[in-house]
């Protein structure tokens, strides 16, 4: 009997970790030609992503800002091969691209080389519509691929509508504060990365990220691309249009999301949780969390929140740090004895 097993996971590229901004590659794979908003943090995420990955990369982007605002016919910003995929298809696009390459290389129909496969999606495409396809992609440990969810906390391309990743209370065109209902979005932001980590224990790398921390972001992309198998990164991207603030504060708001403890920076590597940067300092009690108001009150989308609302928001964040089994990450734990 012939044994024909799936080829072992393809070899990976040599993408060393960087120590500091100066080691971030000079290579630009996302250049002029896009027409994202001033202060768009997701555009920076795209730029950092492809700097880290390098030119031997295929990028697939699902519908969203980073499709519509980026790739206008005749003025693409992508220097690497890039292809659109449907809103809910980042997982399938990554799987299909990686499977095609793997099959062709195994059968000798294409020259063998490690090619990075990255599929990106927004929060609408990833946290909402595409969740099932991302979950399926994360089950295929025979393929090397990265799914990057750039989360600007709304359907920002279609006029800012609330998504499953929008924060509680946020004003959006589908959750506008009104005369009778001040809070139209009663949903708490989905805890996406831990959900995927808990649900796919064989995945070797799942991380959260923020473009405000460039070297950390670069290293996360590189770790995801070189560890082998399917990986997932969830990045928080301040959005001047959707969050309603002066574009010059994007970088600062990203940091505030982390410093207030609303967004937690971590990597889950082979089942081990590693907190990064300010999140690690907060968890160790080295630095205190800033009050959530410092973050919320800088954004027009929360302008309608009352003192009581802000208190509720703070309590929910406090609870996630003080009562969760793993602060900010795992909300449940074993039953207490007794």
């Amino acid at each position: 009997m012939t044994t024909m097993t799936q080829a072992p996971p393809q070899t990976v590229q040599d993408l060393p970790q960087v120590r500091g901004v100066k080691q971030i590659p000079v290579f630009e794979g996302f250049t002029s030609g896009h027409r994202t908003c001033q202060g768009c943090e997701s555009a920076l995420v795209m730029r950092l992503m492809i700097k880290a990955a390098g030119p031997r990369t295929i990028v697939v982007g699902s519908t969203g800002c980073m499709y519509v605002a980026n790739t206008t016919y005749y003025s693409t910003p992508w220097v690497v091969p890039w292809m659109h995929t449907q809103l809910g298809s980042s997982g399938s696009a990554a799987t299909g691209t990686a499977a095609g390459l793997a099959s062709l290389m195994r059968k000798g129909k294409m020259q063998e080389e490690p090619i990075n496969v990255i599929a990106f999606c927004g929060d609408g495409g990833g946290v909402d519509m595409g969740l099932s396809a991302i979950s399926a992609a994360l089950q295929h440990d025979e393929y090397n691929l990265l799914i990057l969810c750039y989360d600007n906390e709304s359907y920002a391309n279609t006029d800012i509508q609330v998504s499953g990743s929008s924060p509680w209370g946020a004003n959006s065109t589908f959750s506008p504060p009104g005369k009778v209902h001040r809070i139209m979005n009663h949903r708490w932001k989905k805890n996406t990365a831990p959900m995927l980590a808990a649900g796919h224990p064989d995945v070797r790398y799942i991380a959260t990220a923020c473009g405000s921390y460039g070297p950390d972001f670069t290293n996360k992309i590189r770790r995801a691309l070189t560890i082998g198998g399917p990986t997932f990164i969830h990045s928080i991207d301040p959005c001047p249009k959707g969050w309603d603030y002066d574009p010059k504060y994007s970088h600062e708001l990203g940091m505030l999301a982390v410093e207030t403890g609303i967004w937690v920076q971590y990597e889950i590597v082979d089942g081990e949780l590693i907190l990064n940067g300010p999140s690690r300092a907060i968890a160790r009690g080295i630095r205190p969390r800033k009050p959530v108001t410092e973050y919320l009150q800088r954004q027009g989308r929360f302008a309608h929140l009352t003192e009581e609302d802000l208190k509720f928001f703070q309590e929910k964040i406090d609870e996630s740090w003080e009562k969760w089994w793993i602060p900010g990450i795992v909300p449940f734990g074993p039953q207490e004895e007794g």
Partner: protein, 405 residues
Amino acid sequence: MATQTLYETEREELISGSEAIAIACAMADVDVITAYPIRPYDTVMQYVSKLKADGAFDCDFIVAESEHSQFEIVKHASAVGARTFCGSSGVGWFYAFEAITVTAGLRLPVVAMVGNRALDDPGAFGVEHNDAMAVRDLGWMLYWVGTAQEALDTALLAWRVAEDPRVFLPAAISCDGSFLTHSQAIVNVPTQEQVDRFLPQYDRGRLLLHPDNPITVAPQVNEDWLMEIRRQTDDAMRRTSDVIREAYEEFKQVFGRGDDSPFIEEYMTDDADIVLVGMGTLAMPVRVAVRRMREQGKKVGFLRVKFFRPFATEEIQEALSHCKAVGVIDRDYSYGSPSYGGVLFNEVRSALYDLDDRPLVQSFVAGLGGREVLVRDVEEMTQMVQDSIDSGKVKQVNTWIGVRE
């Protein structure tokens, strides 16, 4: 290779239409195949997975988590140069529809099998053609298979035509649920050498998505360019006729079988006053009925439409231009359509409009949900067409056959 040792000699096998297509997948050395269960098409994937498990077929076989993902995965695999196959049935095909639509828009030569099934609700497993027909306006080639042999042959033809750079369009192979997907017949399985001679490797050329060819695929074009791109797809579809003809001639040379035309099959139509028209396995009872009626001296013939897209307008005009009346049997419906007729009926009637001397055209909806179309049903339809000829006009354009009122 293991595949070659299995198919060294030409041989006959008793297999179903689904199994025939699975064998075609292995012989075509398809690179990426995606599956998701829904009856009745999924039998093809059961055979594919067994071929892979037994080492007879090296492919990346991916069980997707939905039909949408199934079709998205092959779409993207096709973009990086992989030969692909997938399929579905009924509402599963509809679940994948977004992906199905863009596959044609992207000009990717995915080949899919549709195991025709009624669209739930209410639940029904049996054949109806409305599932596959839904792609008729989208740039997919669409073929209705009549036998298991034709299923195997058409799959090989489908990759050959779809992957031709003059075409680069996806192709759907429609197989009547149960009647074709599950019914066994003797199939002549060709040799690997024959298949290799007929089917070149898929070469995406300058459209390949690869770091050596860093293109941007499917940007936003809006009103600035959309019409030009739609027109290019239309041009590609127009080119399919010649490519199909050319490939079919070569197919007949390499494999030593085939009909006169790749688009239609004519049965006793030469001197026929009445020609019945239908698709798929309907041909079986209709041929029997035609033979019986011929024995009774009635001049009846049958025309089976094989390619629904491209629709062989001129060949169908030619085949139907000499008869007095045409009865189109649809295994589908089109609520609110012209004359409340079937889809095929309206296409055929439209194709005949330009003839100077048009036959009468009558519509029959029959065999929905897998209900059997009997020889006596065909005789009844023929009699109704005869009545139209006798009275000089079609009094009731569309009739539902065998419905409990």
